[in-house]
Symmetry: C2
Subunit: 376 residues, 2 copies
Amino acid sequence: MTDLLTDPAAAAREAAHGRPRPALGIIDCDVHNAVPNDAALRPYLPARWRDHMDHVGSRTFSPYENGFVYPKVGPGGGSRADAWPPSGALPGSDLPFMREQLLDRFGIDRAILNCLYRAAEQRHEEYGAALARAVNEWQVEHWLEQDARLRASITVTFESPEPAAAEIRRAAGHPGFVQVLLFPRTLAPLGRRRYWPIYEAAQECGLPVGIHFASTTGAPITSAGWPSFYIEDHTSMSVAFQAQVTSLILEGVFDRFPQLTVVLIEGGFAWVPPLMWRLDHLYHRLGAEVPDLQRLPSEYLRDRVRITTQPIEEPERPADLLDLIDEIGRDILMFSTDYPHWDFDHPQRAFQTKLPPDVHTRIMRGNALDCYALGT
Amino acid sequence: MTDLLTDPAAAAREAAHGRPRPALGIIDCDVHNAVPNDAALRPYLPARWRDHMDHVGSRTFSPYENGFVYPKVGPGGGSRADAWPPSGALPGSDLPFMREQLLDRFGIDRAILNCLYRAAEQRHEEYGAALARAVNEWQVEHWLEQDARLRASITVTFESPEPAAAEIRRAAGHPGFVQVLLFPRTLAPLGRRRYWPIYEAAQECGLPVGIHFASTTGAPITSAGWPSFYIEDHTSMSVAFQAQVTSLILEGVFDRFPQLTVVLIEGGFAWVPPLMWRLDHLYHRLGAEVPDLQRLPSEYLRDRVRITTQPIEEPERPADLLDLIDEIGRDILMFSTDYPHWDFDHPQRAFQTKLPPDVHTRIMRGNALDCYALGT
């Protein structure tokens, strides 16, 4: 797909025809606000952890030098080349510029901010928890209270579930927080018992748990070792989502927490039918292994999992995309742009084929309204 | 799918109607002959390694106690309950019984034996290489020279590629060996340079490289840690195939070795279209990362990768299986039973929907004849 926003000729053609304003108010389920630097979090840290930041600083699981898994696509290392604000600050760190490039330009009614600050990867669990809380306080002051269109996800130290649960209960007091944010690479599969306190707190607060493309555990990203290319990293990250959904279903998380919804963010969705066929097939043959399960694996996914659209895998034959959406079901997918990252999906051009109007409306808005408490 | 061979009532109904004899000669691309025990390999080991076997024995990467990743399905731990020979030996270790249950019963014209003895997981590389050679010699004497319908794969220590290449060149002298056998879980992705000597030797000998469901590296099977259930292991193993195909394509293995064919055995195939869509899409956006690639990722797969059928993922709607085979292409899939394992596919009942006759013939026989040098 041509990336019109980073293609000056296409942008000029668009401008010549007037700014497009869709009739449909869009809900963008994946937008990234960036913590510009450690200093931005200092005001929200107790003295104990400001000292730690000064004298020790960040120590994480990450084998990536600067904490980024992105390739060097343009100067932003993962961001659209045009997403750097005039101030020179990090892409996604400047709200007025985000309004101009995203919210105003495309008539976004609600944007859900997923701040990718990786507090959960801190090896010092208490420091990680302090950072997570600081990120959330910073989000309230600099984002949620600055623009009524914004909502945000709660940053938590998911490898340290009790502090994470406490932070969920604390942060959920602000109505701008509409989701708990996890990442798909974890030290154990997310269905396992150690993570249940997070789901308990999320369900209690009426928040879905989102899992967003990102993160590392220090272990190789494939079950066959470290790959060479970012294309492999990108593909393997999508696979981590599949392992997590499988674990959540088979461990009975959806039975244990009957009000819990899980949102998969930026993990793709073409893999959904094949995975569901496989799991249902294995369940028919090996169901004795998971006798507590109440339903077919695919039924849990249909009822309790929602998936954001970007990045949309593009079938060779455009009609196959319609078949794919038909197989997955019209209530599952929720539109997202991934602004300001390099693989941004343009709200009017994300789908390479025309969707039936009712399906389009569900994806651009309706499914998100059902999933999140977005206010009026 | 009902497993008719382990269902006595169904087997009785079948017997009452006479033994079915398909008009089409079947080529079964995945049958397992088992080394019954260490003693069977002793005659093929030099004194140095017989001593090692007696005094040290096996030391592997495997975290599984008995080296098996299978669940306890029946007493065979991975095999059909009825696949134990009357002698009490391991399933797949008794040729007369294999003739009765598989070759004669279903009119199999050629069966490709994939012996899953995991010499490559031996931590002692020289001992592993000696075991691999012993397994191949044992296969010649006890299988290839006992039944003209049998062909076999060469067991190699793929984590020790130079000895593996030497064993390929040695064993390929026997016309019964038609493939080199690797497993999908490796210490590094199979596209990487360290494995190229294997491909060079295979190409030189005119042998495809097969990758068969099995194995461990000692690391977690998912990129999110160790899962609880065999259903997750099974699904994750299929994912390892995807990482390997991606690596082989992106590292340019198919350009470097232009006569090489890779066969994916027991990894499923419903994942092929979504993976190809994703890789082609990323290649269009991030091709700068792999500038030496000559073609679209999906084109390499179509031309150079073949895939065995068992286990067939079963779509909810049977017609979706036809769409899937249509998307993958009629020249890719090759029939396999996986005898004597628990998830055996019955030659007449493997597909839940009727395939077009030309496609059926390609899958049951034609594609294998094009892929392997099977003799007349």
